[in-house]
Symmetry: C2
Subunit: 342 residues, 2 copies
Amino acid sequence: MERDLIARIKRLAESSAEDSSVLAGIGDDCAVLVPRPDRRLIVTTDTLVESIHFDLEYFDPWHLGRKTAAVNLSDAAAVGGSPRWALLNMAVPQGLTGVFWDSFFEGLRSRLSQYGVSLVGGDTVSAPERLSISLTLIGEIKGGRWLSRDSAKPDDLIYCSGHLGESAAGLELLKRYQGTRDTFRGRKAVHRISRAVLKRLASRHLDPEPRVTLGQALLASGMVQAAIDISDGVATDLAHMCKNSRVGAEVRAGEIPVSRSLKSASRFLGVSPLEFALTGGEDFELLWTVSKKDRSEVQKIASKILGHIPFHIGRIVRGEGVFLRTSQGAKDIAYQGYEHCI
Amino acid sequence: MERDLIARIKRLAESSAEDSSVLAGIGDDCAVLVPRPDRRLIVTTDTLVESIHFDLEYFDPWHLGRKTAAVNLSDAAAVGGSPRWALLNMAVPQGLTGVFWDSFFEGLRSRLSQYGVSLVGGDTVSAPERLSISLTLIGEIKGGRWLSRDSAKPDDLIYCSGHLGESAAGLELLKRYQGTRDTFRGRKAVHRISRAVLKRLASRHLDPEPRVTLGQALLASGMVQAAIDISDGVATDLAHMCKNSRVGAEVRAGEIPVSRSLKSASRFLGVSPLEFALTGGEDFELLWTVSKKDRSEVQKIASKILGHIPFHIGRIVRGEGVFLRTSQGAKDIAYQGYEHCI
């Protein structure tokens, strides 16, 4: 099994054999890579464990491959870097078929090749029970600047690249209806929300879009210093940014980007859409700050890439905490959610 | 638990805070690193899974930390590279204590700092059952040359840096006596081999010495092109080298480096010492080839680093296969062991 898997991984790696920066790849003791001159390296890694981060009941292997890549690509996006090379570590239980792996690798390849990333190494071992996957990305940035979570300044405006909470609502729906195929075919209980909504939210969980091009453009603009990707919910990730930057933030409940799809699913699930939007993880949207004078220029750059205007959700303030402003006043939601607020 | 662990990892990373090549480390979305100009990058990664690669019954956390580093350092050694930065991914079950982690990180730190490697990132997640650890090393090599497994040429002599089979015999002893403390205190059944032998072989399994300095010196000599680290036993790793180099090899049974400790343990365990030496994995000795004209110069370089003369175990031949020559003739042992031969 392990040998068969390694053969599949080698075939996948061969598809990036034309990458002249890879002098030695899979099958050697080390990969040997040629970085561009005068670049800094960026490195990031994420581990996904079956039954903790995904469940094969509702996660098909193609999407699992794509998401394995996307969660790491999103970290590269958050610093504005250009990912170039990937390493894949897997601890693999028995019983997963060749069809499963073909589909997984095709999904992984599709996301990596979208950004010109070559798979250059890794390690595949047996596991007694559950599938565990780590992907490591190595990339580059030009010069000495990158986006970081410690550069937000008071009076900066806070922007976000897309709707929030959809991934968490999508996960709730997937858990209840175990597998997209069943869900999308419309079982009776599901008829209360439209198939289109189900499909959109499930897809936001299964196939998040890493904002790599946006991150690179924000860095290249020279007008954005602080960014983070929203992996744990905006209440937590904005709190990380505030803590690292030694500032506070104020976000307006009415400006948190909540889609009509999320509203519809929230009614169905009996959870407030704001709760999903503030605490729901894995949207992998980019959050950044920008000074007032640069806002319209940066908004233009972001809009061109996103195809929509980014959402202005609040501003950085002196002090600490992440305050949610509603018609009832303001309350600190750092590392918390909306429920904590009401 | 996860937070407590991450705090420990941050403390560990801070101990390498004086590394000016690390512009951003743990706690950011990406580590940001400064490679030296005109270097190639080397990258390697290994995953260790509890109950597959180690058992906490006999593997104390300090040794586990050291070995996690050593197995990766050995891959860097095999190409002659200089490891510089490390990423640590862990899937962690409940129930491992703070004392366990302090000891694990101290072991990991001790091996990484031996070679000036800084821990710059990683990911720590929960696991339902077993501890799983992946370490990724990024390093550098100067110029366009490195040691590889595909450069062996007919008539090259085959050398090996140390005794073989001791790690596998050590593992057998550890499995039987579950934990070094019991073993070393000398239970009745153990009295048939000396405590010194037990200690030496257990230590060869728990705390292998990565041959990083040797690998670098062999590369720097300009006289060695082909090398591999012996992780799966010489019958398998030499076969890898032969296959990748499109050559064969002939090794002489009488020249395979078998220590007196291994002979003593082999009698006790009822397994031939040659079986341990040819098929036993995880010795992490370096195997390399050298032309006849350069042999004495390279032998001198290696001897100075090792403190003993390296072992000349055979030669590269035209054709394919790994032939073991005994008084009864020669037989192909590629990917096999001694038992296959008799």
